[in-house]
Symmetry: none
Subunit: 409 residues, 2 copies
């Protein structure tokens, strides 16, 4: 038996007038998922707890059986792991933007003209930065204008503010300690020096000289944010005895899976948006599930969340419809325990995550099939799973896989 958690990121929503008081999922034409719901068992789920608005990171950690209140201090560590930096527990990690600053460090473009080439050369330069002997500076470019920064050493803390001013026309924010510890004061000082030195090292960088010559904004400063301390995470396989893989589109989800010790399946053409190469995503999901190498697969497709953030009702509905053929192939498989869910709701009307519960269904042998016949938020609330929590999922799946130890005699 194989276990699969299939996350349709941000799928949960609220009824919308333009869809005849239906949600995008209720409105979507999803014959395969409806058939699986009819033959399976459904319910609603609070990923963290009722009313709590999960991030995708805290939600996925919870679904994999980790307590986000223990292991989550910020997004940085997961982004860093997602670009294949070998982070270590205790490292302080940040998401960064390459940005454009003028001479007095006023930020004129937070995305450096959405630079999308030669950021590896800029990263090489940053990696030569020295601040003092106590701290190692590790930097890696990510996609487009994004990168990650890791500080490694003794006496560091993640209890500090961000440097990113969020809006153009401002200078980088002075990073401040959030508590009275020497570690926080020292780390804030290191990050402030990092920001200033990044400008000194990058302002005349050959890549930027060429960009300026071409009329493009130079990537002449680095702005860290999303600070977090890399947590000690018990590997998934050690925790559950299941060899895991992750098929996901975004570095954030890949980073979570990587920190949990899972193999990452890279999907060419995956964008994390509604324009993703869905055929490539489809193929890699099915190939991974069919592979003999894995007992457990975490799947994440991201387009519905992106459409929710963008306020794109029809795009969200249509993207959900694009998932349905993948489900058809999974429906044809025996010997799988498949848990289909969202990680959180991203209502189009809110354009952000909400605390609304998400609709879930299970496909597995031996289920107590209920009488729900379509996949939707309100239909699922009548299902046989009633209302569960995200932290229950890994237990339910392992039980249906016959992998749960008996508690007692």
């Amino acid at each position: 038996m194989k276990g699969i958690i299939f996350v349709i990121d941000g799928m949960g929503d609220r009824p919308m007038k333009e869809l005849g008081d239906k949600t995008p999922l209720e409105s979507a034409n999803t014959p395969s998922m409806d058939k699986m719901v009819t033959e399976g068992i459904t319910g609603i789920m609070d990923t963290i707890r009722p009313g709590v608005r999960p991030g995708s990171d805290t939600a996925h950690l919870t679904l994999l059986g980790y307590d986000p209140y223990e292991v989550y201090t910020g997004r940085g560590p997961f982004e860093a792991a997602g670009v294949d930096l070998d982070v270590e527990p205790g490292d302080i990690a940040f998401r960064c933007n390459f940005a454009t600053a003028d001479d007095d460090l006023t930020i004129t473009d937070r995305r450096a003209g959405r630079i999308n080439s030669r950021t590896d050369e800029i990263a090489d330069t940053i990696n030569q930065m020295k601040i003092d002997d106590n701290v190692e500076i590790i930097f890696k470019e990510s996609d487009a204008h994004r990168g990650v920064l890791v500080l490694r050493g003794e006496g560091l803390s993640d209890k500090i503010t961000d440097a990113d001013p969020k809006h153009e026309g401002n200078k980088p924010k002075i990073v401040k300690p959030l508590d009275d510890s020497d570690e926080a004061k020292y780390t804030a000082d290191v990050v402030n020096q990092f920001v200033n030195k990044s400008y000194e090292m990058l302002k005349d960088h050959p890549v930027n000289i060429e960009r300026i010559e071409n009329g493009e904004h130079p990537a002449n400063i680095v702005l860290p944010r999303g600070v977090g301390a890399v947590p000690q995470i018990t590997p998934f396989e050690e925790k559950y005895g299941l060899k895991g893989a992750c098929v996901a589109e975004t570095g954030l989800i890949q980073g979570i899976a990587k920190l949990a010790g899972m193999d990452i399946i890279h999907v060419p053409g995956a964008t994390g948006g509604i324009n993703t190469d869905i055929d490539s995503v489809h193929k890699h999901i099915i190939d991974t599930v069919k592979s003999d190498k894995y007992d457990f697969i975490l799947v994440n497709v991201d387009g519905a969340d992106e459409a929710g953030h963008d306020g794109d009702t029809i795009g969200k509905r249509d993207f959900i419809e694009k998932i349905d053929p993948i489900m058809k192939d999974l429906d044809a498989m025996d010997d799988i325990v498949l848990f289909v869910t969202a990680d959180h709701s991203t209502p189009v009307s809110i354009m952000d995550h909400s605390g609304d519960p998400v609709p879930v269904f299970l496909k597995a042998p031996g289920l107590r099939v209920d009488d729900v016949t379509e996949y939707g938020e309100r239909a699922a609330a009548k299902g046989g799973l009633c209302r569960i929590r995200g932290s229950d999922v890994i237990y339910i799946i392992r039980d249906l896989m016959n992998e749960m130890p008996k508690f007692g005699a």
Copy 2:
């Protein structure tokens, strides 16, 4: 957006033969609440956890987001705050009865002839009591035969028994320490001295001499019970960033709201019973909800609980019907998130609180409206909220108010 928790105290009940196997709520004619349920989302709620019989105090603390297992040691502190005594964390507080004792301290009337005047003069005398230099005696009369006692000083404990013998014909109970600490032994001794001294100071009090002349029972002894240590409670506004007010009928609920730092709206004519001035209650609720001063309002109406305790089936049903017009006015308002509930069930057949879950409904913009069309215990169990906990409520409301921070990214 404003948040409202509207508690119909003790409303939950069980099916009764005399109501054609309906509960008082199911039997009540509540067209406005039925309409709101039809247009909203319903469910059942275990205020503390399934099967746990909540007091009104622990239930309300939970609904406001406080853990009663942390902050609740007894009723005294909330009663004391409810009569506007400025209690401080660490104070030991008691509810008290003025009672009638004869010469050998046998209690002949636990309520001193239900005395209802000049108890302030008696309280003035009690406030002059000195036991020793370590402890300050603070006393205040409440309504009718009730009062509150606060002990303030170092080395006090709430781990002691009650003095109230509960039944006439007995002497006050000797208060005993509940653990081996010096603090508990000392505090028990102080309370025993307090009871004896109260008789010495009150037996010839002018108010009592006049009562005896008038053939009334004198209030010549004070019986403390419901001991608790005043907890450190993070103010509601500090916790949630919402300025709160409380419209309630009883000192207990007012005291909880006061300790949470909320403004107390006094309602002339409110009795806490089925005979309350419902028009005054109605007006003060609506005025408070409409006031620009508040983001959050806790409402409590108490008659259904009283009728439950009194075994008054028809009184309970009729009182629930009296609430319906208040709901009609709330239904007409936009931009509110209204959570209607009981704090616990008080089945008429039990004449006390039970652990049965309570029926709840939500009115708010953007809800996933379910297909329940009437407000009742069993109809609510089929609703789209399924089964939630009291501790979820403040999260759900804040999420619907768009006041919840995101946990993660």
